[in-house]
Symmetry: C2
Subunit: 298 residues, 2 copies
């Protein structure tokens, strides 16, 4: 096992470490629920948490460089790392975090901010860097679905503009904490229910706040399969979001989606329904590729 460097995706809720070979291949992956928020709430000893996770990869006589991205660079994280300002080339600025251990060095990628409209990202810029690592001439529109979904325009290797949509967080709040929690459950999915709801709010975004209450009323009056209600709730949110992203979508023939397979399925289904072509990349792979780009200096 010849570990050349370690890729670290340290977000709010998860910590994902990947041991990389000199030639950029994945040797091993380790994952922990000790996300930034949990470690911060437990006193913030980020170095010890990291060393405990990657201990099997370390040796006393060698220093392995760790390249990190995500909310670990936020104010509440290990060390606050300044944002780069769009338009900018993603994942080009690194900040070194001093460590007590000599077995590792730690560098964190800068997030990206936008002054107007005010917006921020931490972690997604690395995934965008990953798309550029695989395709250095990439020009176009990237959508990164998640808790705070980003839509970013990339031109000449730079993030020129982006918008964050709170759809993912709103879905969780509505499904788990609102009156809809009595009507939404299950792991299943219904594409038809999703698409119908998506088109409803895509065509009439202002109907969103009454459509979501209607999900509860329909269940009370007629009893609705909670999987159908869940798929519709997701559809109403995506209709509102994708209508809001039209200013970007209308300029491009293809939307490049970066994220987890489950989330990408709904975005792909919705966009394809509008006859917009999509191309998908795994979010995890793009994070590692983006960190590979910065560690190799390409």
């Amino acid at each position: 096992m010849n570990i050349a460097w370690i890729a670290l995706d340290w977000g709010t809720s998860n910590l994902r470490a990947t041991a990389m070979s000199d030639s950029g291949e994945i040797i091993e992956k380790l994952e922990s629920r000790l996300g930034m928020a949990k470690v911060a709430s437990q006193g913030g000893d980020f170095e010890s948490v990291l060393l405990a996770l990657i201990d099997p990869w370390l040796s006393p006589d060698k220093t392995i460089p760790v390249f990190a991205c995500g909310m670990i660079g936020a104010k509440q994280g290990w060390m606050e790392v300044k944002y780069d300002t769009a338009p900018c080339s993603p994942v080009t600025k690194l900040t070194n975090i001093p460590t007590n251990s000599k077995r590792i060095t730690v560098s964190v990628c800068a997030g990206v901010k936008q002054d107007s409209p005010a917006d921020v990202m931490r972690g997604e810029e690395t995934q965008i860097g990953g798309v550029l690592f695989h395709n250095p001439r990439f020009d176009g529109l990237i959508c990164l679905p998640g808790t705070h979904t980003k839509w970013a325009v990339v031109t000449n290797g730079e993030i020129t503009e982006f918008r964050t949509f709170m759809s993912g967080e709103l879905f969780s709040l509505l499904a788990e904490k609102s009156v809809l929690s009595h009507s939404v459950s299950g792991d299943g999915w219904n594409d038809d229910a999703f698409v119908g709801a998506f088109l409803d709010t895509y065509q009439n975004p202002a109907k969103f706040l009454s459509k979501i209450f209607s999900l509860r009323a329909e269940d009370l009056l007629r009893g609705t399969d909670p999987i159908i209600t869940k798929s519709r709730l997701s559809g109403y949110l995506l209709g509102l979001e994708i209508n809001g992203a039209r200013e970007f979508i209308e300029q491009y023939e293809i939307v490049t989606l970066v994220g987890s397979p489950l989330l990408l399925h709904s975005y792909k289904t919705a966009l394809n329904k509008l006859e917009i072509t999509t191309k998908e990349y795994s979010g995890d792979s793009m994070t590692i590729a983006g960190l590979n780009r910065v560690q190799s200096g390409t």
Copy 2:
């Protein structure tokens, strides 16, 4: 003290009892935090909770009628009371709930449902009945702001159509449970911030999901007074809602607002900004008036 009947507003979170005279005047008010949800979670002995609250008003040798409305008639409440179906005259159907005590009789008003689009109300129909009690010839549009804001069309004494908007619940979830909770706080209010945000999403409802994240980003990048952020969050929600209610608003010159003074202020400010005239009634007073209407059989 000559109590003729008791008006009961028993909602999800609160229980409000009002002792009424024969001539429809308020003698005394009592209030408790033992809303329907709390009593249901504690075993559901609604009769004991009610008797404990209104005990000072009761005597062993007299039966006092209690007229109730609200979520107390829901499935999880004291006894499930069927909905009346719109179009219908509000607060005309009563269901008697059997009690062990001979000191009271309890009647609960039917809620109102709408088949398509599916919608329900429990309590607001009584407030609409209150508007009709004060003005039997009322025809027009009534907006009842709250956790689940209702917009209802009243024609010839009937609720002909209505829509529920989840703005109030969404405001609470976003302000208290989302990433925005770090940026929203305080009891103050800023009308200018509210109006600016209201117009933003009223004109561009599909911007809602990105506008609300921008509140967080602006605070991170520039630091925003949490009162300003709170007022803007409220404005973005009302812009989305009021655009969604346009199909009703465009048919009427006046919107009749029924609710608490604080909530009515924001709706009045927003609607007046669109040059729509508003008329305001207190929600508590309309509940009592609606129950007065049904108990007096007018």
